[in-house]
Point group: C2
Chain length 148, copies 2
Amino acid sequence: MKEELICPHCGRPVSRYRNPFLTVDIVIELENKGLVLIQRAKEPYGWALPGGFVDYGESLEEAVQREAREETSLDVELTGQLGAYSAPDRDPRHHTVTVVFVARARGEPRAADDAREVGVFAEGNLPSPLAFDHGRILADYFAWKKRM
Amino acid sequence: MKEELICPHCGRPVSRYRNPFLTVDIVIELENKGLVLIQRAKEPYGWALPGGFVDYGESLEEAVQREAREETSLDVELTGQLGAYSAPDRDPRHHTVTVVFVARARGEPRAADDAREVGVFAEGNLPSPLAFDHGRILADYFAWKKRM
């Protein structure tokens, strides 16, 4: 599929191959405390897994480390991949495909960047509303933990 | 990271946010026979898992079905996700991130589209050379099967 950009100099269309945007999201297990979620500072509002866009030239694992640090101030240790989620309507703004990682961390999370607030939650007390398909991702995570 | 395209009308640069390209690859288990690999018709040459670029607005699962049909003429039934692979140098042409699915199929594969030839192989007789990081992906697949 092609995407049409508008040339800012002459106003005419520039066509380019269009791929979904690639993101990572991170289930951060905070030692003895629960899961780290952020309250989004931008639309769509709500609570969400920390995460964000993957840069060209950056591995998914590097993007995970960077986004965790930017949004929660935590250094995370990756422990696995939960899976990729790609329904075209999972983000109301545009088509994003996310690869979800599981990681662990210790210390005190502090909100920064796109995160307005940060909180630590357990399965029984998840905040609401959860943005995107993060409710489904968290349900998959808890089911996966029980199978381990 | 920004990417600069050249406007074909006025020749001046148009800047755009740059993401890695997103692809899918498919480990197709052909009933009672082995795994379906293709010999690539384009550079980089070699044998590879069937797969290709994900279109904007298409889920990963839809891309898997489409690419399997285009390259091997098989209708596949998805059985799981093996994982995502994202090292920036895994494709010599540009940075691609692939999500690898496992699927099963029956019938006779026929090469088409980007596939010059199609073959069915078992763990002990994989063809050479394997393009991209598909040797590593196949090693991960065989290790995963043994854990099941």
